[in-house]
Symmetry: C2
Subunit: 225 residues, 2 copies
């Protein structure tokens, strides 16, 4: 059957999905109770074993769909975690993936069906195996990338106010940003465009709604916030 590598040992390889969400000015993480031994019932990232016929990227998408119903997310690899004892069950190499969504885009009924929970990042419980380590690395990457990649828009509805956008940046960077400076910088960015619509939900006065123009971004993907 195997032509070439038959003599070499194989290993279990899994993927774990780190799904960040945003709501109420806070960054959250999607976790669930582990449904498998060992560690059954423990809080954990959504993960599963990689099948023979699927790429790592595909495995990450499949696992997330199977376990949470979430589909078609933009996912980015965080890295491979390969310590011998990282998994208490057996030697498993795991590749972590990271995704960002707006909490409201994940239907609550669906979420409950799957038993998924949003928890504030600053109130994160101890997770199964080395999952906390994975989350930590994902946040580091996120912080590094937020100012040069248009990631924030994944965490917001299609139309958003500048205050919401600023909240995302503050949540990810973990520090306050001056409102006037922030808005000044946003104005210079062509691919964040005013829609003309007004949001009346969050304030009495109403706030202008903006939109991320993907086409315009792809034409000129250079910016610095």
């Amino acid at each position: 059957m195997t032509q070439y590598y038959g003599e070499y040992p194989k290993t279990w390889v899994s993927v774990d999905c780190i799904v960040f969400g945003f709501e109420g000015g806070k960054l959250k993480l999607l976790i669930g109770k582990r449904k498998m031994d060992p560690g059954r019932g423990q809080w954990a990232l959504y993960g599963g074993f990689v099948k023979a016929g699927e790429s790592l990227d595909n495995a990450a998408h499949r696992v997330l769909l199977d376990l949470t119903g979430l589909d078609k997310l933009y996912m980015k690899q965080v890295g491979a975690f390969g310590d011998i004892d990282r998994d208490p069950g057996d030697r498993v190499i795991s590749v972590a993936y990271c995704a960002l969504i707006n909490v409201k885009d994940y239907d609550n009924t669906l979420r409950q069906q799957y038993g998924a929970e949003w928890v504030n990042l600053d109130e994160l419980p101890t997770l199964f195996a080395d999952h906390n380590k994975m989350v930590k690395k994902a946040i580091t990457l996120l912080r590094r990338r937020i100012s040069s990649e248009p990631l924030s828009f994944n965490l917001l509805p299609d139309e958003f106010t500048l205050t919401q956008l600023q909240n995302v940046y503050e949540a990810i960077l973990g520090e306050e940003i001056d409102k006037r400076n922030f808005r000044k910088r946003i104005k210079q960015i062509d691919f964040i465009e005013k829609t003309g619509a007004i949001d009346k939900l969050t304030s009495k006065r109403g706030a202008a709604l903006y939109r991320f123009n993907k086409k315009m971004y792809e034409d000129d993907p250079t910016f610095k916030l």
Copy 2:
């Protein structure tokens, strides 16, 4: 034997080592002819399968030592490559690692013994499988990290001239840097210290030698070049 995950499929997992070197103002890559089918005789990164009892990090170090004699290098994970057809032999997931050394620190006799070759990065041949893709990603990471991590010193002898240091930056960033501005910035960095010695090899006048003070760096690892 296996307690928990017996029903799940296993996969071959390998590590591939990207070793960058620096010499004569150029960034180089260490490659060798593949000694295994398929692809025997093709240029390739140094790689090998991960054993049951070793972590990914350990596997990377072992493979490099076994195949090149290089030991105790600082290695950083580049990422996991998991496309189904990335390896023409069979389905293998590979984790790429990256290291930096000074070409002169790799004894030439040893190098020839192992059949390793330094090739200029801008004259890189087509490598086995997706190894070119790995190298590309490693360079991207390197560029991103060079200005906030003291990586450059791995590519130089213990004592180096400022011109050499500048050459490293230029080779990695792929652009020319103004000499005066570069030296001005270096002067502000405490952990790059003048040794007092003079290098008379590369110029008639002689150039002051500098050294990376690791302790000082660890005391205050914040800098920006």
